[in-house]
């Protein structure tokens, strides 16, 4: 599956619902998408050749991971023109963890000639839920890979496009520099701390209120209509606003832990609701490729409570 980038601000491709929610539950899923990832504190006003407020990740989720997942990954590098026989490639331990999502996994940073080009993670837990099956997550750092392929020292010198008629090159800087400069100025200087806190609290309250209404018990025929996805959008908003406040220096180190815990509580609640919703959704729609006993059990469960409330 190729997906489009998610259109709510996220700090990493992992946070897009195509990863955060799809890795939950038993359904196999294979998806790839590019995800612009915004990290306000990483902004450098466009002055640092290697650091960006917003960078692009190519995110791949393979659930469950195929036996030859590493080999497939290496083939993907060959496919974009890297002759691995000519280069030095190493898988170095790097275990990924996202406390705001209560998610973690083990894996590697893949080093190509000393450059970290991919984060390779075997997801173990997401939203506080132990995963089964697990997923392999491949996160390619696109700017780095492009700079490597084009052999430029600054991300801003990457050629984004070339006019086929005139040969005129448009660079990454042409496209994105203003973005980096202005958002750095906003995130570090201009963002109104009080209002940003207020936004955070509003989104948080809305998300919590929604989640409070989710009913885990019983087979509610209306369950599939429950807006878990909307709740997740609200949670992502909180996460992004937290990042702005953090960059703005508005969150003391002591407070930080507490705010992270608040966002995590939302993420964990959403993950739980999603898993539950998928289960009942699964039961009512999918009847073919489930093993017999499981199917029986689910039908039975449906029979026991034919009417929702």
């Amino acid at each position: 599956m190729l997906q489009q980038p998610y259109d709510v601000e996220v700090g990493a491709g992992t946070m897009a619902p195509e990863t955060f929610l799809r890795v939950l539950g038993p359904k196999p899923y294979k998806v790839a998408y590019v995800q612009p990832s915004r990290r306000p504190a990483d902004g450098r006003y466009g002055e640092n050749p290697n650091r960006l407020f917003k960078h692009m990740q190519l995110q791949v989720i393979l659930k469950p991971p195929p036996e030859n997942v590493q080999e497939l990954y290496l083939e993907s590098l060959a496919a974009i023109g890297i002759d691995l026989r000519q280069h030095d490639i190493k898988f170095e331990e790097d275990n990924w963890e996202a406390p705001t999502l209560s998610a973690w996994g083990v894996g590697w940073q893949v080093m190509l000639d000393g450059l970290e080009i991919t984060q390779f993670t075997y997801f173990q837990q997401c939203g506080g839920v132990d995963l089964f099956p697990i997923s392999a997550e491949l996160t390619y750092g696109l700017e780095r890979i492009a700079a490597f392929l084009q052999d430029v020292d600054s991300i801003y010198d990457i050629i984004w496009a070339r006019d086929p008629q005139t040969g005129h090159a448009t660079t990454y800087g042409d496209v994105r520099l203003a973005d980096e400069l202005q958002f750095s100025a906003y995130n570090f200087e201009a963002a109104d701390v009080e209002k940003t806190w207020k936004h955070f609290e509003l989104y948080e309250a809305e998300c919590r209120a929604l989640l409070m209404h989710y009913k885990f018990e019983g087979a509610d025929p209306e369950k599939h209509r429950f807006p878990v996805l909307a709740a997740y959008d609200l949670c992502l908003k909180c996460s992004h606003l937290f990042n702005i406040l953090d960059a703005r220096g508005a969150i003391s180190v002591t407070e930080r832990v507490g705010v992270i815990a608040r966002v995590r509580a939302l993420a964990v609640g959403i993950a739980k609701a999603w898993v539950d919703q998928q289960k009942s959704d699964f039961a009512s729609k999918e009847k073919s490729d489930e093993p017999e006993p499981v199917l029986e059990k689910r039908i039975q469960k449906g029979k026991l409570s034919p009417v929702g409330f």
Binding site: E47, N48, P49, N50, R51, P64, P65, E67, Q70, L74, L84, R85, Q86, H87, D88, I89, K90, F91, E92, E93, N95, G105, V106, W108, L112, D113, G114, L115, Y122, Q124, D130, F132, I134, F148, D151, D153, S252, V253, T254, V257
Partner: protein, 714 residues
């Protein structure tokens, strides 16, 4: 006897875990073979990032058969009228032998029927197939994962298994994979699958052909290549770094080395920063000239056979340039705000959630350092107040710099470098400023037991004060290290305190110092959560005693019993404990002290037994009419020599004090030969107990000689 081969093929195992896991697999297998009476001639490991291999040479093909005797029914039950009964038949059947082969045995309870049963030894293939998977599954990993089943955990997914006895596969299974003969070669330099012809050296040869080398060979190849690459620059050498070498050995299956360079302009950055970037972030070796000055070159260890086109070098240089650019950017940005201005920022940096911010810590450490300086001054040593005060004030300000945020391992060092580069205070002479910078630079030293202690006395005081404050706060909160749990590395910090005090010979009493460190928290919010002072004193005393014991034994190499004896006398002063250990070690070979040790044990026993019986010694020894000559002689000896020993002890001339004590031997021996302590006469008994008590006290002020192990010595 066949050879056995096991290879667990795995996705890349974290470099830091390979050695320990490989050793554990070897030890577990050796223990298994021992348990199963299959002792092998030799077990060797073969490990790379993608495999844990095990080569067992000369393993018996089966367990030896065991013959054992099984007892059956009594003769009276087994035979009726000379004929075997059903009971006898049943026993023979159960034992699997003919009736005629049964024997008669005589026991205390009478005559019984018995059978000799020979139990066939199981084949090695069977035993390994059954038991090795369990051993593999039990290997300890600091961090593991599951992938196939939620309850099967290993460091990374296992992808293949080889298990062979000579040329034959054994049907071993692990994590859903059946063992075969197919291993895998180097990811890029081989065609992938490698058929292993047989266990033993053929395995190593097959892998070598597929560009996979064993550990020793890889290390040798890397060392050689580092030397060769460095030789191309006149007068240069690579910075030896065993831990980096171990890392790259564990990251490669077929290593080679390239020499790269960087813009000499970057040499304007501090060497510490450049080396950290190269070593910790890129795993490159630094190159220096004959005088130890950094050269604009680096050495990268590749997991491939070379770089004929220079593509890898080009890439490695490009990444390093970006890293150095970052570092330079941070260095320049950080200079915009002086350390002094950064002090205020520490209010927002948490030291520990219950112990407040680094700003508060700074104030406490400043205060504690002044107190420590005062005590040191009393012994005539100079601690420059202007230096220690300022150094303690600025010590933690580098935590707010971009450079430390990026390279946390450089905390302290960066502060020192910035302090040197900044004016700090225009009234300060340069020498003072540099002394402040050095103290800040050294504040985390020693970071391990091998690491050096701070260069200056102010650096030493700062290092001690900072750590004592941390330990005091944590202990007061009840966060005491236990077993393998020491999340704040308090043991390491206490080890550092002991080492600095010992090597700088500082007159700092541990308990008083910790009490004062604890007092630094007075009036702070944290105090509400503190344990009471008595419990604090007790836990801190026990903790430091352990650390001191560790230092004397493991770092100074004093014998276990010497350390015990010395610390039993007193464990509150590090320098004094070292001096007493040395003095005791010097006299321990003398026969007099072996005798005194034995006598002390005897005295302690007598006194303890008396106490258990409720018999107390007299308040003071008196010369009684009935006193034995040896008793009076010993008392007179103590009266004369006791004060002399005490005077020497006060002067810390322990060697001389012990020499005097050694002369006590003949008096003590004569006393024990001729005088009975626990006599019926109550007065004589109490009097003699008093004499022993005094004597034991005299002997035990330097070391408790009853702790000395006398057996096998002298």
């Amino acid at each position: 006897m066949p050879d056995f081969l096991l290879e667990i093929g795995c996705e890349e195992i974290p470099a830091r875990m390979i050695c320990a896991a490989s050793r554990e697999l070897r030890e577990r297998t050796a223990a298994l073979l021992n348990r199963e009476r299959l002792s092998a001639a030799e077990i060797a490991s073969f490990d790379t990032p993608r495999r844990l291999g095990l080569m067992v040479a000369g393993i018996p093909s089966a367990q030896p058969d065991i013959t054992e005797q099984v007892n059956g029914p009594s003769i009276s039950v087994a035979y009726k009228d000379g004929q075997p009964t059903p009971a006898a038949h049943a026993f023979a059947k159960k034992a699997g032998v003919d009736l005629a082969q049964l024997e008669k045995i005589t026991t205390a309870k009478g005559e019984y029927l018995a059978a000799k049963i020979t139990r066939r030894g199981r084949s090695v293939a069977e035993i390994l197939t059954e038991n090795l998977p369990k051993e593999i599954a039990t290997i300890y990993w600091p961090k593991n994962m599951y992938w196939r089943k939620a309850n099967e955990r290993f460091v990374r997914p296992v992808r293949w298994l080889v298990a062979m006895l000579d040329g034959e596969t054994i049907p071993l299974e692990f994590d859903g994979i059946s063992a075969g003969k197919i291993s895998r070669g180097h990811r890029m330099l081989s065609h992938g699958d490698v058929i292993i012809p047989r266990a033993g050296s053929a395995y190593v040869d097959a892998l070598r052909a597929a560009k996979v080398l064993g550990r020793a060979e890889r290390e040798q190849q890397i060392r050689k290549a580092l030397d060769a690459a460095t030789r191309t620059i006149a007068g240069a050498r690579w910075q030896e770094d065993q831990s980096l070498l171990d890392t790259v050995v564990n990251l490669t299956e077929f290593p080679s080395v390239i020499l790269g360079g960087f813009d000499p302009q970057f040499l304007a950055l501090p060497e510490e920063v450049l080396v950290t970037v190269m070593r910790d972030h890129q795993k490159y070796f630094a190159v220096e000239d004959a005088n130890g000055k950094l050269l604009p070159h680096f050495l990268a260890v590749l997991n491939t056979d070379g770089d004929p086109e220079g593509l890898i070098r080009h890439g490695d240089e490009r990444v390093l340039r970006a890293r150095f650019n970052d570092a330079r950017f941070f260095w320049e940005t950080d200079q915009k705000k002086s350390l002094l201005e950064r002090l205020e920022l520490l209010r927002h940096v948490t030291f520990q959630k219950d112990l407040g911010s680094y700003y508060e810590k700074t104030q406490r450490v400043q205060r504690l350092c002044s107190w420590l300086s005062e005590i040191i001054k009393q012994s005539g040593r100079e601690v420059r107040p202007g230096v220690i005060h300022k150094a303690a004030c600025l010590a933690k300000t580098d935590l707010t710099t971009e450079l430390v945020k990026e390279f946390t391992e450089l905390q302290g060092i960066v502060g020192g470098l910035y302090a040197r580069a900044q004016e700090l205070d225009s009234s300060l002479p340069e020498a003072t400023r540099f002394a402040i910078a050095d103290a800040i630079y050294d504040q985390y030293k020693p970071e391990s037991t091998e690491d050096e202690v701070p260069r200056s006395i102010e650096g030493a005081v700062l290092s001690i004060g900072d750590k004592a404050d941390t330990i005091a706060g944590m202990f007061a909160l009840g966060l005491v290290p236990s077993g393998s749990k020491d999340p704040f590395a308090l043991r390491r910090q206490a080890n550092a305190i002991v080492k600095v005090i010992a090597e700088k010979k500082l007159p700092l009493p541990l308990c008083a110092m910790m009490r004062d460190a604890r007092a630094g928290y007075q009036g702070q919010e944290a105090e509400k959560k503190f344990i009471d002072d008595a419990r604090f004193d007790e836990s801190v005393r026990a903790f430091f005693r352990e650390r001191l014991e560790f230092y004397l034994k493991d770092l100074r190499g004093y014998a276990y019993d010497v350390v015990k004896a010395v610390l039993a006398a007193d464990a509150g002063d590090v320098v004094d404990s070292v001096a007493r250990s040395e003095a005791v070690k010097q006299v321990l070979h003398m026969p007099e002290f072996l005798a005194i040790g034995a006598a002390c044990k005897r005295m302690r026993n007598i006194l303890r037994q008396a106490e258990e019986k409720g018999i107390s010694p007299a308040a003071k020894f008196e010369y009684l009419a009935g006193s034995a000559d040896e008793e009076k002689d010993l008392a007179a000896y103590i009266e004369v020599n006791g004060p002399k020993v005490e005077a020497l002890r006060r002067k810390k001339e322990y060697g001389d004090a012990l020499m005097i004590l050694s002369t006590a031997r003949e008096h003590v021996d004569a006393f024990f030969d001729e005088v009975m302590v626990m006599v019926e006469d109550e007065k004589a008994r109490a009097n003699r107990l008093a004499l022993l008590q005094t004597l034991l006290k005299e002997f035990s002020t330097i070391a408790d000689f009853s702790e000395i192990v006398t057996e096998g010595k002298g």
